[in-house]
Amino acid sequence: MNTFRLGGVHPQENKLASENAIELFPLQQKAVVFVSQHLGAPSTPIVQKGDRVKTGQLLAKAEAFICANTHSPYTGIITKIDFATDFNGYKKPAFFIDVEADEWCEEIDTSDDIVREIKLSSKEIVERIKDRGIVGLGGAAFPTHVKYMIPEDKKAEYLVINAAECEPYLTSDNRVILEHTEEVLIGIEIMKKALNINKAKIGIEANKQKAIEALRKLLPQYPGTEVVDLKTKYPQGAEKQLIYALTKREVPSGKLPIEVGCVVNNIGTAFAIYQAVQKNRPLIDNILTFTGKGVANNKNLLVRVGTSIQSIIDYCGGLPENTGKVINGGPMMGKAMMDLSAPTTKTTSSILVMTTEEASRKKTTNCLRCGKCVSACPMGLEPIQIALLSKQERWEEAEKECAMDCIECGSCLFTCPAGQPLLDIIRIAKSKIGAIRRARSKK
């Protein structure tokens, strides 16, 4: 079975919600929509306090190159544009909306009919992706249209679709494939057309056999698209690792996938692109997994952007008594939430509830120099070496040990028997080295 070349770990899979169909989360009375919900330059608000907006109406516009549009998830009045706290505790500008109704803009097709014929040209597709505010739903929230504007000296050969869903607990990709199989495949056709290529590879971990079967059943109608089973191993869905597993090509250090002729998108993004291009639907909702060993009901929910995390928790029966930590994303790379009143964004993929017991790290002892972190690193780095140098603030040497190639997958910290906070230290090293590099380039 295909897999990546170096390292990797196998945490408990815990796909507790994988059998649960996507539920529509009830519409809310109030919404808080961050002006910018992507990686890149901030978007510019184009509506004002007191304006009445419709569902799907443009609220903030992308003016820079790496930037994305933001649309209204509801129909209602903008009561204010002010700072709101995100779940990481950062204050960011947001639209506060008093919801009145759910009237969609006329140009949006809200029916369930599947539109199969792709009418738009390559160029129009990219324009539409940009216009509808699509960002990468794998977690990074990178504006999708940018990936489809290939530099002139580069050539795309493969569209790589990330359906690995290698993070434990997360099940939203699995549900999208099962419940929207055809739309996802049409989305991939659209992406191929945008790139003027015919080859697409969907990489999917072997623990999702039902999803693999569902896709394979429809594949004959989509020549050029291939589904590849991948070994269930973390981080199978990390961009560079996935490209290697599917094409045996190695993205050079510091370069983007296009260097080896690949464009990578998440399978959830393929569905969003289908909706944007075929239905003219902006990205105003996403599928979120509410899960955890202690929660009463594991659920997959379709939630509008701007819904408070707390209201989702309440809807799902509240947090259990012994809750120790609440995470957005998977347990390997997700972020621990600081503020549960914060609203969801386009990329809030899960609410993972961990018990107090799970939330505590193991006891830290002296490093045993066992080398498990080195064997686990999918980038072939020596985490312990980088950490030792960093503890002595030898940043330049840590840079020579290729600290900047770290993808922060967490395999080292996961595997360390001595409980050394390896990734925590490497993150500090990366930010220090980043500052050193910026100072260097100024000279």
Binding site: L6, S253, L319, K325, P331, A336, R369, G371, V374
Partner: protein, 317 residues
């Protein structure tokens, strides 16, 4: 509701802990201990108990009064050092010598450098070599008791001493390989049984406490090199070599010590081959019959260098 925890990812960790690894090694050492008891009598248990107790006590005392750090005896590593030190000794050794060995192993071999994981040399080997060099004329470290099964044959009160396979190799005498494999032979009581040591090694492999690289490289290179010398008429056959003396125990339990062996798999192979070659060189050309301890200690010293040279192949370069 209680406050939520916030920390960097990852939010899950593997089940392995320092303690679980150390206890796996202790369990892996038990077959060799039992075979030792079978062939050399209950004094084996007494020697092991004295050695382990002394190691734990010295670590506790040094941590309490000299380093003044958090107590570390519960991690189980002192038990391993104690067991391995004992396994390298003859069963008739006086207890005071065992205690001196434990003090050197833990005091100088381990705690001087800051404790577990920071020691450059395998502590048990430091203790063993110290005793070997300090008591050369003493009965204890130069003459070894003969194997004498507890539950078979005639029982004798006083242990008999006799030549070990290695001194017989030195004298060019032939040996019974089957007896060496089982452990019915003279020597340190923990070293004699290849089968018991291999059994322990397989358990550690299964628990992923060790990988195959060091033992295979060590034993394989020793066998090959001894084989070449055998064909040249210099020494006995290579299989006798790898079953004799401390080679099995050294290759599986001592050379694989995490703290004192290289980090990468390539490094571990280089390390193992170095140990194998040096052992045979010492045995065939050195003044003493055994060379495993010195071979491993020398390779321990080279480990930082190996770590520097044998880097993993990085992704994207």
């Amino acid at each position: 509701m209680a406050l939520l925890k916030v920390s960097g990812s990852p939010h899950v960790q593997s089940k392995d802990t320092t303690q679980s690894i150390m206890w796996s090694v202790v369990i892996a050492l038990i077959p060799a201990l039992l075979v030792g008891v079978y062939f050399f009598g209950l004094r084996v248990l007494a020697v092991t108990a004295v050695s382990v107790t002394a190691c734990i006590l010295f670590e506790w005392l040094i941590q309490k009064f000299l380093l003044k750090g958090e107590q570390t005896i519960s991690d189980g590593s002192a038990i391993i050092t104690g067991m391995l030190l004992a396994f390298n000794l003859p069963s008739n050794i006086p207890f005071y010598i065992v205690i001196i060995g434990a003090l050197v192993a833990i005091g100088i071999g381990k705690m001087t450098f800051g404790g577990l994981g920071k020691n450059p040399f395998n502590p048990a080997l430091v203790g063993r070599v110290f005793l070997f060099l300090s008591f050369p004329t003493n009965v204890a470290m130069s003459e070894w008791p003969k194997a004498n099964p507890l539950f078979g044959g005639e029982k004798i009160v006083d242990a008999l001493t006799g030549p070990t396979p290695l001194s017989m190799i030195k004298n060019g005498e032939s040996l019974d390989l089957i007896n060496m494999f089982i452990g019915s032979t003279g020597g340190s009581f923990g070293e004699v049984s290849a089968i018991a040591i291999i059994l322990g090694g397989l358990f550690m492999l299964l628990r992923k406490v060790i990988s195959w690289h060091i033992p295979v490289a060590f034993i394989g290179s020793a066998w090959l090199f001894a084989g070449i010398l055998y064909l040249a008429g210099i020494t006995v056959d290579p299989t006798t070599h790898i079953l004799a003396g401390g080679l099995m125990l050294g290759a599986i339990f001592m050379a694989t010590d995490m703290a004192t062996s290289p980090i990468t798999k390539t490094g571990q192979i280089v390390f193992g081959v170095g140990c194998g070659l040096l052992t045979i060189i010492f045995r065939c050309f050195g003044p003493m019959p055994e060379g495993v301890s010195f071979a491993i200690l020398i390779m321990n010293a080279v480990t930082p260098l190996i770590n520097k040279i044998c880097k993993p192949k990085k992704f994207g370069y």
